[in-house]
């Protein structure tokens, strides 16, 4: 259960989503080496419980794949197959398989991958469809997401396929990872200015970004209207893409494309708040930021991206951005007593949404960012990584 208010009390929302259940499974698996000795057995039990719940309740035995939402007791509430949700299941099961050397989890990750290839991949134009229904048919157009593709989906497939390829060592997983990387680089980013485009039609023509039912912006409680929707870009997403792409490149090999730096440089120029610290939420191409709210996940991911950039390129400005973002997170996002991050702040750091958990917000962004930063700081301090 994941919905907790600003005091850490359960809000009563007990529906379970494949995205967040997977993120918690990933977190309790991945973070064990970073935990205190006495926390580790309980984390392993939590991961086991998460894996059992996923395969028992979320797996669709008729059509294959993972359903989108269940009730607390596992009764299916939304049977749709969303590529976003499927990708997080692959990511979590692969991480669980790596941590616990569990062949059943790896088999399930591979089965989900095979279904994505046969049901959600577009063999004509490349990439993957956004939202599909229970039987893997297209969802409706527009807000249904059936007529579009997005950077968001493909970035999280990049993340999932990297971990799957690590876990399986199977050349087909590595090949599809390379294809997703190539697609993002060829179709989804502006290489000169250094930012990602948001949404595309099925032929990869850019189209105005809209909120998509169940996924894109479904977690947001503010309701800003951005007039020039065509070029909206998320600074946190761009910086996250920089380090996820770099992580994938370590597995696939190959040259570091200049975009890895340009994504950071664009966020430095337009997204970083040099007065109060932290990173703004959204902007339009090469103009000052449009939305000055600060969202927890963008700030945590930016911290990793800037520190990764400093490790890879030695640019002092990236280290300064990392330190400034961590300072803002420490003083404004993290609850001083309960330790988890609040969801959304205004520019000065005052809470707009002080929830510590919700159907989208679990241990994934906060825990992952800190563990990724710890690994890089260990390297910088010339210690051995975990």
């Amino acid at each position: 259960m994941l919905s907790f208010d600003g005091k850490g009390d359960f809000t009563g929302d007990d529906e379970k989503y494949i995205v967040t259940q997977s993120r918690m499974l990933w977190g309790f698996s991945h973070l064990i080496p970073y935990a205190l000795e006495e926390q580790r057995p309980q984390m392993a039990q939590a991961a086991q419980s998460g894996f059992d719940f996923l395969r028992t309740n979320f797996w669709d035995s008729e059509y294959g794949g993972f359903v989108w939402k269940t009730a607390r007791n596992g009764q299916v509430l939304d049977r749709a197959k969303l590529t976003y949700g499927e990708s997080f299941a692959v990511y979590a099961l692969s991480e669980y398989a790596l941590r616990f050397q569990d062949p059943a989890a790896l088999r399930m990750a591979e089965e989900a991958f095979n279904l994505l290839e046969s049901r959600a991949a577009d063999n004509a134009f490349g990439g993957y469809y956004e939202n599909l229904e229970a039987d893997w048919s297209f969802s409706p157009s527009g807000a249904g997401g059936g007529d579009r593709k997005s950077l968001d989906i493909h970035m999280h497939l990049l993340e999932a396929f990297t971990t799957l390829a690590e876990a399986s060592g199977d050349p087909i997983h590595l090949r599809r990872l390379r294809e997703v990387m190539s697609l993002i680089l060829c179709r989804m980013v502006n290489h000169e200015a250094g930012f990602g485009y948001n949404q595309f039609d099925l032929q990869f023509n850019r189209i105005p970004a809209i909120c998509i039912n169940r996924t894109w912006n479904a977690d947001r409680e503010t309701n800003e209207c951005i007039e020039k929707a065509l070029d909206t870009t998320s600074y946190g997403h761009n910086v996250e893409l920089s380090w996820l792409m770099d992580r994938a490149l370590r597995l696939t090999g190959g040259e570091k494309p200049p975009i890895l730096r340009r994504l950071l440089d664009h966020a430095l120029r337009y997204g970083c708040d040099t007065v109060y610290g932290g990173i703004y939420r959204d902007g339009v191409a090469e103009e000052p930021a449009l939305v000055h709210d600060k969202e927890w996940w963008q700030n945590f991911e930016s911290m990793v991206g800037f520190l990764n950039g400093y490790c890879r390129f030695g640019e002092e400005a990236y280290l300064a951005a990392f330190q400034q973002t961590w300072g803002f997170i420490k003083s404004c996002f993290l609850h001083p007593l309960l330790g988890e991050s609040r969801q959304l702040l205004d520019r000065e750091g005052n809470p707009i949404v002080d929830q510590l958990g919700n159907p989208w917000k679990g241990i994934y962004h906060t825990g992952r960012a800190l563990s990724e930063c710890i690994d890089r700081l260990d390297l910088l301090c010339e210690k051995q990584p975990r």
């Binding site: 259960m1 379970k16 241990i363 710890i374 910088l380």
Partner: protein, 40 residues
């Protein structure tokens, strides 16, 4: 990889982050998120 000039400063940040994980984020979710009745 660049050689950071002030390793003790970065080491201090590392300790802050480790403490934030071990004393904050991990126990927050361990204490609250596990569904002991239905699993998950």
């Amino acid at each position: 990889m660049p050689k950071f000039q002030n390793a003790s400063e970065l080491s201090a940040v590392r300790q802050e982050m480790s403490r934030a994980l071990q004393k904050g984020i991990i126990p927050f979710w361990l204490e609250r998120s596990i569904d002991t009745e239905y699993g998950g």
